[in-house]
Subunit: 214 residues, 2 copies
């Protein structure tokens, strides 16, 4: 698939069929993630691909109450939106409800893990939340999402389960110094799946030489 076609139609797909994804397709998707750059080429991340029914159910059971809280808060915040934006947000929330109810039945949940002791965290001294560790793992996550798009596999980047990291680490048998940063349910779309996306224009996102200057 052409690069810009993949990027421009990669939208979150939350209604996923339980049908399995064949091994060869999955290998191509995992290979794409591995191609991503990491700081010093250390590759301080691993992916645990969950296909086991009991483990998927356990993750779904952790996810459901987190989604309930998050979506209730989100529903309150969309009240002030215009009609079109509100309708769009409600469709997203409905799809999120569907995902939460069916998380245990998707064919694969990809859990991305990372080890901060293998990373040069250049923003660790700043008086704000660190993000730089993410620079050595979310590029791999993005490659995986783009590869899913290319293969016709629906997916969405979620992070709510990071709130239950200790339980997830125990479920997956993870070592003490490894942590979790993304959970990507994957499966063939129930409906049309991918398509147009809604983003701000370049002039709103890219400044020239100084903040606010277009």
């Amino acid at each position: 698939m052409e690069l810009y076609d993949a990027m421009s139609s990669l939208r979150a797909v939350r209604r996923l069929r339980p049908d399995p994804i064949d091994t060869v397709t999955l290998e191509r998707i995992y290979q794409a993630a591995i191609w991503a750059p990491t700081g010093g080429n250390v590759q301080p991340w691993r992916l645990v691909a969950i296909t086991d029914a009991a483990k998927k159910q356990a993750l779904a059971a952790l996810y459901a109450p987190r989604w309930k809280d998050y979506s209730a808060n989100y529903r309150e915040r969309i009240d002030h939106l215009g009609e079109e934006a509100k309708a769009r947000a409600e469709r997203t929330l409905d799809a999120g409800d569907h995902l939460a109810a069916n998380m245990g039945q998707v064919p694969v949940i990809a859990v991305f893990c990372f080890n901060p002791s293998l990373m040069a965290l250049t923003d660790s001294e700043q008086a704000r939340p660190t993000v730089v560790g993410g620079g050595s793992v979310y590029p791999a996550v993005q490659n995986l999402l783009l590869a899913c798009r290319s293969e016709g596999v629906g997916c969405v980047l979620t992070t709510l389960l990071c709130m239950d990291e200790p339980a997830v680490k125990e479920l997956l048998g993870m070592p003490e110094d490894w942590y979790t940063c993304a959970h990507v349910p994957m499966g063939y779309p129930v409906g049309g799946g991918y398509g147009p996306i809604n983003r701000r224009p370049v002039a709103k996102m890219v400044y020239r030489n100084a903040w606010g200057s277009s």
Copy 2:
């Protein structure tokens, strides 16, 4: 360009020519970054594209001593490597020296900024460095890198300047609640530029249902 071709040949390109990149090409690259997903589609990032000579020189002046420290430390750590791995690391370090010496002459330095107050930092309660904020900006960085690859523009993801964030914020006139997370020098390659990359195999990076299980 085909998606997997772009991903599998996206290597760090640190020897960049000073020749300008035309506006239309740059717009396509910025558009690609904007297509990336963000939590709740909030798009809590901005890019400041630096082409001004004085500002590029100022960033280069901050970068040079940081690279000197980082690379000195890196050079010590490669002493124990085998011949091939050591030679590869030395080529990377030499290219990094070239970049540090020429950072002020590249046509564009893309500075990615983010606002953590616009992000749901689901790992903020965990007793380890947070990374989840990176999930709403490094996918955009990765899209930009892949777009550069597709356009034949060399680039490399750097984060060393996060150590000088207060100085960078002042230089760019950034608001208090916005921060920096990646600095991507961009330019046409001096040499061949893109090509084969060196990564671990899938079996070493992807586990099945439990940590360490292939």
